[in-house]
């Protein structure tokens, strides 16, 4: 409504020229959109890389017949919910700590943020060694304290959560920094007003901090939820979906089909993942943004 350039008789060049889109659009459409659209066709074929036979929706039917896919689907959602949930809670707590009058703030912020920058493969390998059931440092320390450590990555009930934990370890620094930014942006007046109204620290948190840091929460959730749904590197570096299929997510299932040379099937999996993401993330973003607008 504000500044729509209505069709005018003599038109001047816009201050915001459309060709500014051109370089980005060229790269993006050739290297991302075109292959993605092509994949929609290939998902309907039996594809050997050498030739593609059109088989309709057989790949999708096959994909849903995969006995592990249902588990992979559930795992993907669990993983995304657990990692983004923990990142929100832990990130918020760490940010509260780091914006309070605490000693060694610089050090704390640095050590919490640094893992964000480290190679995922490197982190995966390191934690695979640390989480080794008998020789890993974690379980050896627990044994030293007289506790029997679990089989972090080899217990089928635990493996997915162990990887999720490492994901949180690596990613919580980003959530924390986003929250710090959000908390710093809350005007002091609100706290002072609340204090005059007699709010306790806890009430301060629930009635001032939490609602006013909603934009930060929205950012953290959206980023880590999409990241969680697409996650692949870390799972691949740590468990390759194992033991068995216990920590398979859709992304790793797709990858395994791809590895096995089932290119059409794998591409169909891509489409399924996309649909899952769209179905979960679009309403989530809309929800988060609507609330934001109300504030």
């Amino acid at each position: 409504m504000t500044a729509v350039a209505a069709p005018a008789l003599p038109k001047r060049r816009s201050l915001y020229p459309g060709w500014f889109y051109a370089p980005a659009a060229a790269v993006y459409s050739v290297l991302f959109l075109a292959p993605t659209l092509a994949s929609l066709y290939f998902s309907l074929t039996r594809w050997t890389l050498f030739d593609a036979t059109f088989i309709g929706f057989d790949n999708f039917a096959q994909f849903f017949r995969e006995p592990f896919l249902v588990q992979g689907l559930v795992n993907t959602v669990i993983y995304a919910v657990v990692t983004s949930g923990l990142k929100v809670v832990v990130g918020m707590l760490l940010a509260l700590m780091l914006t309070s009058e605490i000693i060694a703030r610089g050090y704390l912020r640095s050590v919490i943020f640094f893992p964000v920058l480290v190679s995922t493969v490197g982190v995966g390998i390191t934690f695979t060694v640390l989480m080794h059931p008998t020789q890993g440092m974690i379980n050896q320390t627990l044994a030293f304290l007289g506790m029997a450590g679990p089989g972090w990555l080899v217990d089928p009930r635990l493996a997915l959560f162990s990887v999720a934990l490492v994901d949180v370890w690596k990613g919580v620094g980003l959530a924390t920094v986003i929250y710090i930014a959000g908390l710093v942006a809350i005007p002091r007046d609100y706290y002072e007003a609340a204090r005059i109204d007699g709010a306790t620290k806890l009430q301060n948190f629930f009635y001032v901090t939490l609602p006013l840091s909603r934009p930060a929460t929205a950012t953290v959730i959206t980023l880590s939820f999409i990241g969680g749904l697409r996650t692949f590197d870390l799972i691949w570096a740590m468990t390759k979906g194992g033991p068995g299929f216990a920590s398979d997510t859709i992304a790793s299932v797709i990858y395994k089909q791809y590895q096995a040379g089932f290119y059409g099937l794998s591409t169909a999996g891509n489409v399924v993942l996309f649909i899952l993401i769209a179905v979960l993330v679009v309403p989530l973003t809309m929800f988060l943004n609507r609330k934001q607008g109300h504030e």
């Binding site: 209505a6 008789l9 001047r12």
Partner: protein
Amino acid sequence: MAGLELKNIQKSYGSVEVIKGVSLSIDDGEFVVFVGPSGCGKSTLLRMIAGLEDITGGELFIGNKLCNAVEPRDRSIAMVFQSYALYPHMTVYDNVGFGLKLARTPKDVRDQKIRNAAKILKMEHLLDRKPGQLSGGQRQRVAIGRAIVRQPEVFLFDEPLSNLDAALRVDMRMEISKLHQTLSATMIYVTHDQVEAMTLADKIVVLDGGVVQQVGSPIDLYQRPTNLFVAGFIGSPKMNFVEVVVEAVNEDNIMVGSKDVARLGVPATVAGVKVGDTLTLGIRPHDLSPATNGAVVGRVSLVERLGNETIVNIELASGIPWLAVLDGDQALRVGESIALAADPAKAILFDRTGQALLAPIA
């Protein structure tokens, strides 16, 4: 130097018409103020002159050149923005010189022009600072400096003083006025503040709803507003209005009255007015004075005693609130009734459509 000619200028966003055909001519060297309430289209009109908004219909001439499709940089205009719009990453020197740099002015000429502008605005000592280190008034100077350094033929000001505090606003107002005298360039100035309009303008253009209500000199607008809107908008405090009924139509005046106002013969154009018509009577608060047999009677509801004058809020019999500005200090009590005399020569009558029935100038 150049004048401007606007011919039936229109602007619409989709189906929403914002400027509904404005025609206006501005002489070379004139100081013109666009005034009106917010949303009246005055800023849009200014931005169309600047070239920041496309013109949907009509023609814009700057110095005899049709400018509808001319880029802003080729219109020889400069503009001062409400928020000053200084480039935060550049020093004052670079802010002022940016336009010259873009025009590829040689470095030494540029330097001389920048220093000259700084001298005019008394801000030589600020040249090395960044905008973030300046006060509001200083930023305003820089913004003006940026405009004058390019020696444009037309200056455009978009509410330049509204972000300043009251005292500074008065100072800057005088500075701009002086600047106009010094540069004798055409200036178009947008404001919603009618005091600024009255003090600065050679010519005021009152806009409302995308339509020009009246164009004229400040005093003309004050004394002879052509309609209810202009009458209410120009002058402070606002003109008082009340509905009256025509009791008699004479040769050069109309006798009106109501339960609020006793019979009053107001000079006016009498054509078409019949006895029994309802008109609106307007009297400025300054044109009322206390008198035991005054035509206007009401009850005092609030008294503001300023020493040199007294502002009295009164409630007429029909409950309409009026204001009166009385000379000197008047000891009035809230609740007491008061009678005020009105100078009929300064009163104005408006018809049902809001048009003023002004008496022809003698």
